[in-house]
């Protein structure tokens, strides 16, 4: 299995506050990698550095390298927009565009980038909604508002929207934390299926979720990568005492 993303000495700041310290890790292709750690440890910042969303925050700064298929996404001639088309993102709170229909939400990325071919859009809508396991629930009401769906459906719509631009990597920032357990379970199943074709990186504060869905787990604490390995190893024989304490619930 090859490495899709290589993070090399990545540090990140908000103003003068350093939130990530010298993170180095390699993420394998077509597996699910979970990032766990207590609140404020830099999990979200880490994945936001992977698609260059971190730098959108005023006074945010990043150093280090992130290689996607061997090419530094922070390279001088790299357009962040093309990076974001290859690395999709699903956010903590479902955020469909409220003024758009389910159909338009699904292909928002294509439409906003100028695709107007109706036939192609129709195909992408069906394909993406099927891939997000939402098609059967919404196929008869594609014209309805994306905001009219339930929370879980909205999140799957957001996944469909991310899939529609055919990314190679999907980043998920606590994608189930705003959902009820049933809706969360559906998303988790979906994540397993997505890993067949995509590299998935998921941030979660829910350790059971990390154990259920991921192949590899990284434990972050106070902006540092404490331990990274197969999910089985991390949960069954953690090398670091800190990891053990965290996964047994002694703090967090």
């Amino acid at each position: 299995m090859r490495y899709k993303i290589e993070i090399q000495s990545l540090s990140a700041w908000f103003g003068s506050k350093q939130v990530l310290q010298d993170i180095t890790m390699r993420i394998k292709e077509n597996v699910v990698t979970a990032i766990i750690g207590p609140s404020g440890c830099g999990k979200t910042t880490l994945i936001r550095c992977l698609n260059r969303m971190h730098e959108l925050t005023p006074r945010a700064k990043v150093t280090g390298r992130v290689l996607l298929d061997g090419e530094d996404i922070y390279g001088e001639n790299v357009d962040p927009v093309t990076v974001r088309r290859r690395i999709g993102m699903v956010f903590q709170k479902p955020n469909p565009f409220p003024m758009m229909s389910i159909y338009d939400n699904t292909v928002a990325g294509l439409k906003l980038n100028g695709v107007t071919d109706k036939k192609r859009l129709d195909e992408v809508v069906e394909k993406s909604l099927r891939a997000a396991h939402l098609w059967d629930e919404v196929k008869s009401e594609l014209g309805k508002s994306g905001a009219s769906l339930s929370g879980g459906q909205q999140q799957r719509l957001c996944i469909a929207r991310a899939l529609a631009i055919e990314p190679e990597v999907i980043l998920m920032d606590e994608p189930t934390s705003a959902l009820d357990p049933t809706a969360a379970a559906k998303i988790e199943q979906l994540i397993r299926i997505l890993a067949e074709n995509y590299t998935v990186v998921i941030v979660t504060h829910n350790m059971q979720q990390a154990a259920r869905v991921s192949d590899f787990t990284a434990f972050l604490y106070l902006g540092k990568l404490v331990e990274y390995g197969s999910t089985k190893d991390i949960f069954e024989n953690p090398k670091s005492e800190l990891t053990e304490k965290y996964i047994t619930g002694e703090f967090g």
Partner: protein, 278 residues
């Protein structure tokens, strides 16, 4: 239990005060409307709407050129003022940190409070002196009046668009400028429309800057570099007329038409920017 009853009483007093304030605020509004309608409606006629303006004291005629002039001047001012205002507002909202934005925001606030007569003098000094009393001069003065209102409301409306929506678009690989011009702007369109509406309503009734720029006229529009009539000027002239029995009803009629025009613009704008999924 005493304290609960006391709180209920307190609640009742506060609500009563709020209602009383509301009624006091509505009295002048309602009386303006009632007065204008009851006095303006009898003056309404086909000739009032479509005939040229007669000299003061003369019966017959109408305020056709004034309606035409107001529509032309306001449209022209909007064509100039709205895009500048909206794009300035976008700039202020998107680059709120920049020093230029803070300076522009400050100047914009100052401009909001400049008395309209001063803008009239400005239009006179810079346009009238060069090309004479004209539609263009009036439209420029009114456009300058619109800009700060539209800018400020656009900025506020854009700031209210949740960050999550903006990030959703950016994460889809939509360039930032495109995100702003599509997703953000369409989420903010209701607020922006309100600002435009406020500005259009405000300039439609302006009299002072027009006196110094378009001058006024009794005849139909005859070119952008010529003086023209406008409803507020007609109201002003008729109401100052010594021939009260003939001219005062015309002033009321013109007032009613002005209110009606603003109302129609309001409805059109509301309708065209209504949320698809309210």
């Amino acid at each position: 239990m005493r304290s609960y009853r006391f709180r209920k009483l307190e609640d009742l007093i506060m609500i009563s005060l709020a209602y009383a304030a509301l009624i006091i605020a509505l009295i002048p509004l309602a009386s303006i409307l009632v007065e204008t309608v009851s006095r303006g409606l009898p003056a309404m006629s086909f000739s009032l709407l479509f005939e040229e303006i007669p000299p003061l004291g003369q019966s017959g005629g109408g305020i056709g050129p004034a309606i035409q002039g107001t529509l032309i001047v306001v449209t022209l001012a909007s064509i100039m003022g709205i895009p500048i205002g909206v794009f300035s507002g976008i700039y202020l909202a998107e680059f709120r940190q920049s020093r230029l934005a803070s300076a522009a925001r400050f100047l914009n606030d100052v401009l909001t409070n400049v008395p309209s007569i001063v803008l009239g003098i400005f239009g006179w000094a810079f346009v009238v002196v060069a090309i004479g009393w004209s539609v263009i001069a009036g439209a420029i003065a009114l456009a300058i009046m619109m800009i700060p209102i539209v800018t400020r409301t656009t900025e506020e409306a854009i700031k209210l668009v949740p960050l999550t929506i903006r990030e959703a678009a950016i994460a889809l690989g939509v360039p930032q400028w495109k995100t702003t011009l599509t997703v953000v702007l369409s989420s903010a369109k209701k607020g922006i429309a309100t600002g435009i509406l406020l500005a259009v309503a405000r300039i439609s009734g302006e009299t002072a800057p027009l006196l110094l720029t378009i001058l006024g006229s009794r005849f139909w529009f005859s070119g952008f570099t010529q003086p023209t009539a406008a409803i507020p000027l007609a109201i002003f002239n008729f109401s100052q007329s010594p021939f009260r029995t003939v001219d005062l009803p015309r002033a009321w009629g013109a007032s009613l038409i002005l209110i009606f025009i603003v109302l129609v613009i309001n409805i059109i704008l509301r309708y065209s920017t209504r949320e698809k999924y309210g």
